[in-house]
Structure formats: C-alpha cells, structure tokens
Symmetry: C2
Subunit: 350 residues, 2 copies
DNA sequence: TCCCTTTGGTAAAACATTTTACCGGTGCGA
DNA sequence: TCGCACCGGTAAAATGTTTTACCAAAGGGA
C-alpha cells in the first residue's frame, strides 16, 4: 500500500540496463535497441506494473498531450446538444491520436486573467478548440495572426485571421430557400440567428434571402426577425412575424430550437404548424424528429465538424510548420424532409 | 519570440531572493515571508510575466489538480442532455475549487487496459467521477472497498462498496404513483428502465408499484415493460402495453425520452396522449416542456447531482481520511405538472 | 594493420517545481 | 551572561521523464 510506485529507474535496475534504454523502449522510436534487451525491459515493466508518469513525461519537451475545449459561459453549456455533439466528435479524433480533452469555460474572470493563454504557457494543454464563438469575444484578437494553436469551431471571422471549421451555412441557406420555393411558398418569414454578432448566422440569412430573390421572391425586411437561438426567442420572433403578416405560409428558422418555438407561436394564433404554416429548421437536433409534426430541417453534421476541427488542430500542433492550407474549412449539409412542410397548393386547398 | 519562458529561478534572481522564497510566496501559505520581500517577488513575477508550470508543479507532490469525468462508450455520450447537465454541475464545483476537468470515455480497450487506474497512478488526475454506470461495468470492482478516489454519479450498487450520489428515485416512484392515483387512474402501465442492470431503475419501478399497491391498485406484471431509456425503445414498450391492455388510461415511463416515445405509440393507435392516455415521464429534460402536450414529469436535478458528486469527491481527495459519512447521498426530486395528465373523469366524459 | 562506420547502449544535463532540514541573527527570561 | 525560541530566509534533495552527446566494441575496406 505505502509502497512507492515503480519509476523508470526501478525498471532500469530490474532489467539491468540504463534508464535511457528504458526511455527509448518506452517511446518505441529509435530501433537502436536490440530485440533481446527490448523484451527484457518490457518484462520488467510488466512485473513491476510500471506506468510512466504523464506529468514527468510532459516536463522535458513541454507537451501535455492534451487539448482544451473552451466554451463561453452560457447557462450550463455542456447540457446543450449542439456543444455535446461537437465535443463528441472532438473526443473521437483526440482519443485516436493519443490526446486527452480538458474542459474549460470562458467565464468573465477567466477571460480577464487571460487564462486561455496561461493554459498554453503553462504546458497544461497543447492547443485550444473554441466553441460558441461570436464577434463579441474580442479577446480572440490575442490569437490573431499568432502561431498559437487555436481552432474556432463553427464560426468564422473577417476581422481576425483564425483557423476555423464551419458547417456550410451558405449552402444551408440556399437549400432552405429552394425547398420552400419549390413547394410553392411565396410569402415567407425568416427567424435569423443573432446576426449582429455571428458571422455564420449572417451568411445563412444572406444566402437564404439572396436565393429567394434570385428566384423572384422578395422578402420584406420586416419579415426577417432576429432570435437568440433559444426556443423562447424563436417563439417571440414568430409571434412578431405572424403579427406583421398573418398571411405568411412559411417560416425558415436559423436553428431547430427557434423553429420549435415557432410551432408554439403558430398554435397560439389557432393555426397548425406543418399544415397552415410550413416550417423549416436548421441543425437537426434530436428533438426535431420528435416534434409533432416532425420538423423538416437542414442537417448540420456537428459531429463531423468536431472531428475535422480537432484533426486540423492536431495537424497544426504536430507539424509546427504554421498555417498551411485554408484558414476555414467547410463541412457539408443536407436537407432532411419530414412533416413540417407542405406544398402551398395543399395548404390552400383546405 | 524564441525567448525562453521565465521560470521560478529567473524570478528569484530578479528579486534577489532564493527560489524557495519565490515558491513560498507562490503558494501563499506560510506567512514566514515578510511583506517587503513578498512585494518584491510579486513585482518581479509581474515584470517577467511569470506563470508557474502546472506540469512541474504537479510533479513533486503528485497532484494534478484535475478530475476525470468518465462516461461509458455509448453512441456520442456527450451529446446526451442527461450527461451534459451532470457535467455542467461538476464543472461549476470543480472550477470554484481550483480543479480542472478531463473527459474520458470507457471504450472496451480502455477498460481492458485498466486505463482508469493508470489515470490515477499516472498523476494525470486526482479523482474520478463515473457517469452512466450499470451493473455490467464489472470493472468497478477494482474500486470496491479501495481508498481510490471515485464517485459514481446517479447509480448505486449493493455488490460493491462505492461512493455515489443519486437522485431520490424511491421518492420519484412514489410521487408518480400518487399523482396518477389521485387523478383517478386505476388501469396503469409502466415503462421501466433497464431494471436488470440499473439499480436506480429497479428502485424507481419498485417504489412506484408498491405505492400503487398500498393504495389498492394492483398492476399486472404484464403491464410492466422494460425499455432502454431511448425514444425508440419507449415507443416499442408502449406499443406492447397498449396491445396488452387497450383500456389503459395512464402510463408512467422511467424517463422522458421513453415517455415521448410513448406519445408516438398512443398516436399510432388513434388516441391522444394527455387526453385518452395520461403520461408521466421522469427527468424533465428540455424537450419535455416542448412536447405537445407538454409532458408532466418528475424533475431530477441533474445539475445538482453533478455538483454534489464533485463536492463529495473533492472532500475525499483533500482530506485523505478515507470514507467518512454515507456512501450514497440523495438529491431531492419534484413533480412538474404540465399537460400530459388529466383526471380520469375528464377522459371518461369524452 | 589501420581507420572508419555502425551497432547497442550509457552518463548527464535539462525540465520547473515543492518540501525538508537547517542556519544566522535577535530578543527575552533566568 | 547563557540558553532558548522565533523570525526570515536558504540549500539541497526529490519528483520522473526526455534528449543530447558520447563511448566501446565489432565489422569492413584499403
């Protein structure tokens, strides 16, 4: 019990070689070790139940083999499916490549003390993945054009040169527009994301509206309302839209939560979502399929986004050759047709 | 750029004291340092932009100031709101007490190599919080009656002596039974959790059925069906229940996901959940409030469970005096009445 | 036979801290 | 005046690796 854990020196002694040799065996590299000694060392490790100390290992070469997942200080961020899916993707890749994942929340005090830099200086972590970034996170400027290993997940920035991986929001906007147009809808409302602070929200809304315009549908500015990505704000936005144009036949919401909020608003004025008012969401979170009617939406492969972002970060870390390749990478999206959209004719015929 | 990061020795030199003194100042403890030197050292740290290396710090006293959150290798575990809420709770407490959180997934190879022990031996982590435990995780025996710092979150075990924190499932079962009974329901079905492998599921179901019996309602064994906590299994279980007794007026599901699955089953036979068949869930996950009708459920404060579990683990770690106090702690639950339950009379009157 | 290269391996420095034991000086009681 | 406690601080050992530079022996070509 009180017996000290075996260290590399014990293994060396037990197998009659130097501690350097043990280290070389441990790190597999360097075939400078004969098979005989290798086996002897391995046997000694086994019998002593030796496990190298991660702490001590990191010291000399200043590597922790750990990545940080940093999220903004939203209400219980980890309980959000959106973040959860991304984190799952990140974990898969990190684990496969021998890295661990540290969770960090960017609370105000955390940002003020620039702990995100300490984290790196500290050797606690070899790189950072930042989720939920907005234009308001001005401290991201600390990473602008620096060679610090950071990847922003699912947002882009014009003002700072940062590595990032995003879903193809431009394509999503076009898909939504095409779908509603082809179903015959012409009076369409849009619940945008927080477009003032999120570049991908702007992109989604702009391409959506532009594609509609290209096809001859002009959406009144008053039929575009911002929400904050939550159910409640989606409901309020939809209330607003329906008040401004009671004849609306379709709504495109920038995420599923707001789309589900729109369901409530539609019901509140005695209409039926998916019959009187077609609704398209975005993201395809689990509750979307569960809703009644099941929500037609644009699937964002967040798992994939997490995987790609993590791979990108590790590539940067492991080959210290700075930023080769594009700063921003895109992950494809696809339409998932369910029951919340109907052709306009069918709605009219009722 | 290539300039080496300042270390404790540099600070010592700059402030004209020994490196021990700097260390003492750093660790705040020991008021053996005069205010004058303290200020001098602090100033030197400031001007050198010194940040102590977490890695090196951990080495001598074998503490990482980090906790591991270990989850089973379910499909994308982190995307599950249930785990997410618990993790949020854990994070809050850990951060407040100066600890970091490492994410780990118990994949098969992970378990085979007993990495969960390595993690501790390794000094990567000072303690482990295990989420989603079942009786099938037999490797938990490695922690049985050992003094290793582990807390199991939201499950209990009779076969092993382990620290744990759980929701009060016994109370939840009684609340559900009381509620349905008082609404006048007498023909009641129950979708249980995986009772064969999860002790808290057994507890929930047993107290539910027992309370009904106490009040004179005898539930046929055939009206208790197991599900696997997922929407789909809930739907299948409800199909089964409704086939076995088409006159059923109420269903209690062991979690909200299965309750929402039951909605689908009820609709599939042309009935209306919350009108023809009252449904009670358990957990109160976000989609419960969003469902139509909004789901009546028993709120489990998972955030609180996470907080409590983490506090318990840290108490154990910081005061090495082994296991004082109860092995299992309980967190309260409460009924959340929404629209998925109606008095039997009202259903009958239709 | 001499020199050079390769093979298999080692000694020692470096990494950045904590902690233990100790030390010189000062003030105070006996 | 002696001895002791306390104050402010230090030297050195300990923590467990990686990595660089070096070395001895063996083999091969000239």
């Amino acid at each position: 019990m009180a017996t000290r854990r075996a260290n590399i020196r014990d293994v060396a002694k037990a197998s009659g070689v130097s501690l350097t040799t043990v280290s070389l065996v441990l790190n597999k590299q360097d075939h400078r070790i004969s098979e005989g000694t290798r086996q002897r060392v391995l046997a000694a490790m086994e019998s002593l139940q030796y496990t190298p100390s991660r702490l001590a290992r990191g010291l000399p070469n200043r590597r922790a083999n750990t990545l940080a997942v940093l999220v903004p200080a939203l209400q219980h961020a980890f309980a959000d499916v959106y973040f959860g899916q991304i984190i799952s993707g990140i974990y898969e890749v990190a684990a496969d490549r021998g890295y661990r994942i540290l969770l960090e929340v960017a609370r105000p005090s955390y940002v003020k003390r620039k702990e995100y830099l300490t984290l790196l200086d500290d050797c606690s972590v070899d790189g950072i993945l930042f989720l939920g970034a907005t234009d308001e996170h001005t401290w991201l400027a600390d990473f602008h054009a620096s060679n610090r290993p950071l990847v922003v997940v699912n947002n882009t920035f014009e003002q700072w040169e940062l590595n990032s991986v995003v879903c193809d929001y431009a394509e999503a906007g076009r898909i939504a527009a095409n779908h509603l147009y082809e179903l015959g809808h012409r009076r369409i409302g849009h619940i945008a994301g927080p477009a003032d602070v999120v570049a991908t929200s702007r992109e989604l809304s702009e391409t959506f509206l532009q594609r509609l315009r290209e096809r001859g549908v002009w959406v009144d500015d008053r039929l575009v309302v911002d929400g904050q990505f939550q159910v409640e704000t989606g409901r309020l936005a939809a209330d607003e839209l329906l008040a401004r144009d009671p004849e609306l036949t379709a709504i495109f919401a920038a995420n599923d939560k707001m789309a589900l909020g729109a369901y409530q608003a539609v019901r509140a004025i005695g209409k039926r979502p998916g019959e009187d008012v077609s609704i398209v969401g975005c993201d395809d979170i689990p509750p979307a399929a569960l809703a009644d009617p099941a929500l037609t939406t644009i699937r964002m492969n967040f798992l994939r986004v997490g995987e790609t972002a993590c791979a990108k970060l590790l590539d940067h870390i492991e080959s210290r050759n700075g930023k080769e390749g594009a700063l921003a990478e895109r992950v494809g999206v696809e339409l998932v047709e369910r029951d919340s959209c109907v052709p306009l004719a069918s709605a009219a015929s009722r």
